[in-house]
Symmetry: C2
């Protein structure tokens, strides 16, 4: 497959350009050509920035140029955000300028039946050796150097981290990013919107992200794969090193039909794709919510080495619901070691006689709730002995937030040892209850590296996905 | 079953008492005996309130009494929040006072192996004809008259509405309530924590809620049912009038074992319970999150009369993902009527040629996004024609919130006809994206009666549950 020979160095240039032109840069806030420039400035992109707009002399404090040809010096990458009909001519000017890669934001190509226009534009690029991301996409985000072609407002708030997101579809990717940036504590490494995939495709990007030292987890939203075999071969290789989580839509007959009219790609059959994913070590997810649920577990916690799970909760109902969910998901809930039982007994009131797995620390907290220091001691003891118990591979903590009870939790959770000394076993939290308290505890725990889920069943599914990945790729 | 003959009038008295004693009332904020009194005051309970505490003369501005016997006049209900060992003696004083019902907050009875203490206390009550809710519970909330025995902080913020919640377990119910009150726009009618169910049980409460005019949806968290046959007969009768949603835990062998040590109840086998629920018209849910997801759909929207669903989204990916999820859940996605297609075509740009179900209104919004008024016209047209389309039984809208784009959405969504004139078909939203924008749009739509879900798969599962209820009970 000669097409993929140079993909990594080519993509490296597109992700790490020294100079970028924004073609269709705009002075009107809210327009894509304004938002892209604003995001680049907010992210502190350090390369040269050239806004291109024949009717402006300055945009957002930067000198604007009427055409690509009038830009001085070398140009690595062009971001195109003008109407589809203007793209072939712009591509010609990019070719004359020896641009290495273009990101085409514009839509209205093959996805709307305008195949001839797309072919014309691609032919010009191929003859000049210009790589294309898109068209019909939000393009690229690289938090390491602050480069982006995204027009999603607020992208400047993106945190650096280790999760990469790849999506076929631009607008949806924009919303996904808006969600992650505004509500998640884990950071991003690279983001790629592939759009119509007329040149750079899933395989190119997988290869690039497989080698990217910033990326520890790869999340993909895929409607259709054009070169399935190559994709699976690449995925199998990279899965051994990094988890690949895939949300595949268009898996039903009707969904596939809709996908054709959306990105023009032919979606594969559900069962075939599912079986192929398993062979390639890919973790398939059922929804965008699940994609993020799993991503943060993989990004923040170590892998469980087996199916033996411990559960600790502040209420009996939490224990029962968690036990059901663990068993349904294929976990074993083994007995605790004698040492663990004794340590829990020591912090529990005498009337709390039945101590086992799941562990109900509610009675211990009732005894210790008179001061944050006592509550801290309960948490400290329970988490430490459970994480050290040789009978367990992983731990789920089912907690709740109460109206105005946050200070006690905050003191207890932020000070205790388990936060400071990371363990070799994964620990996932489920926290529900009062919204304000829950939001605050969630933020606190996640920014300390402990993923939090609003429902225990979701925490357990995430842990199960980590088990599945371990068994498929590392066991 | 003579035990249940008088349950409705008895429960009516417990839910609508004219005078209430809080035994174990406390001056220390955070203690159950303080929180209960505070919640009653915040909810504006209009009956007589008697704090009972031998060491206080006044609590929260109310005259305190040393003993039940020293309370003047008639006493309908006593709420007991003192240590378990003191309860038999208090029950004797309640019997002398001809109290009609007691709510026992205290724990440390059969759930911790102290069966003899529980038997002693129950015997005194039964001989005097005193009904018991609990022990080991948060008890009761009635938003209609402001009565509560709940010690969950902030209960005074509970909104009046039509969802009733019944749970076996007190602490968990407290957290459930904290969640609903702090984050949901739908209101509550009645809440009951049954605890150890030594007298008032699921059947009593079902009968009472079946007749309660405020209650339109009944949500239950059940660990075990003692009189299964009676429960199912009652449920079958009430399901015809009102949906009953049940989260049953202890359905796995391990979960059941844990449930025994939690509320002392014997949990039934999963498959048997599932089949029995179906026969009784009960909708079984898999998690607490799903319970709330379904409850708000049933509380706020009409039932779909069939499986033919429409999808409208602002992005193609939303259409594809929704189509997959609809098909997997058993929905049909029929063609739209010619009139609908023509109406959508009129608001779409000419290049957007493929108009069908799901409906991608992204292109129309791109055209109309220059002013809130134009966006409003797009929403207005799309929702109205889709809700009027005779080919559809229900509608799912897949929307997204963007950073600082909220004003446009707000203007558009709050003014349009579909909000003002309720339809006979259900409409559920999925809204994701920027947290702040999503939270605001969600609040706006839900307070106007339109449930919002953070993931499209959850909106579609809720719609599917409404279909299932309609087919089981109304078709």
């Amino acid at each position: 497959m000669p097409k993929h020979v140079n993909e990594i160095s080519d993509l490296k240039l597109i992700f790490e350009p020294r100079s970028v032109a924004i073609i269709g840069a705009s002075r009107t806030p809210g327009k894509p050509g304004y938002n892209i420039l604003k995001n680049l400035i907010d992210l502190g992109f350090k390369g040269e920035l050239y806004p291109v707009n024949p009717e402006a002399t300055e945009i957002l404090g930067l000198k604007a140029y009427p055409r690509v040809d009038s830009i001085p010096g070398r140009l690595d990458v062009a971001v195109i955000a003008t109407p589809a009909s203007t793209v072939p001519e712009i591509m010609e000017s990019c070719a004359r300028k020896h641009v290495k890669g273009v990101v085409i934001i514009s839509s209205g190509f093959s996805e709307e039946g305008n195949t001839a226009l797309e072919e014309k534009m691609v032919k010009i690029a191929q003859e000049a050796g210009v790589r294309i991301i898109g068209p019909n996409t939000t393009g690229v985000l690289n938090t390491a150097n602050g480069f982006t072609s995204s027009f999603v407002p607020g992208m400047g708030r993106a945190k650096k981290g280790h999760v990469a997101i790849v999506a076929q579809t631009g607008v949806f990717l924009g919303y996904m990013l808006a969600y992650v940036i505004s509500s998640q504590q884990f950071g991003l490494s690279k983001v790629v919107g592939l759009g119509n995939k007329r040149d750079v495709d899933d395989v190119d990007v997988l290869n690039y992200l497989g080698q990217d030292p910033e990326t520890k987890v790869i999340c993909m939203y895929i409607e259709g794969v054009s070169n399935g075999r190559s994709f699976l071969t690449t995925a199998r290789k990279i899965s051994k090193k990094k988890p690949i989580l895939v949300l595949k839509s268009g898996v039903t007959e009707k969904g596939a039909k809709v996908a054709v009219s959306h990105t023009g790609s032919l979606a594969g059959r559900s069962e075939i794709f599912g079986a192929a994913c398993k062979q390639a070590g890919i973790i398939q997810v059922e929804s965008f919510e699940e994609l993020i649920d799993f991503a943060k577990a993989f990004a923040l916690q170590p892998l469980p080495k087996g199916k033996k799970i411990g559960v600790v909760s502040v209420t009996g109902a939490g224990c029962v619901i968690a036990a059901d969910s663990c068993v349904k998901t294929g976990f074993q809930i083994p007995d605790l070691s004698t040492e663990t039982v004794e340590a829990i007994r020591k912090i529990s009131p005498p009337w709390h006689k039945r101590i086992g797995n799941p562990v109900d620390v509610g009675p211990a907290i009732e005894v210790g709730m008179h001061s944050p220091l006592e509550a801290l001691n309960v948490f400290n003891t329970a988490f430490n002995v459970l994480l050290e118990d040789k009978n367990l591979d992983s731990l789920i903590a089912v907690f709740f937030g109460l109206y105005r009870s946050f200070p006690m939790f905050e003191t207890a959770l932020s000070d205790i040892t388990f936060i400071k000394e990371r363990t070799l076993k994964p620990l996932l939290f489920s926290i529900s209850g009062d919204k304000e308290a829950t939001d605050e505890i969630t933020k606190l725990l996640e920014s300390n590296g402990f993923p939090v889920y609003p429902d225990v069943t979701r925490a357990i599914r995430a842990m199960s996905a980590m088990c599945e990945y371990y068994i498929l790729n590392r066991a």
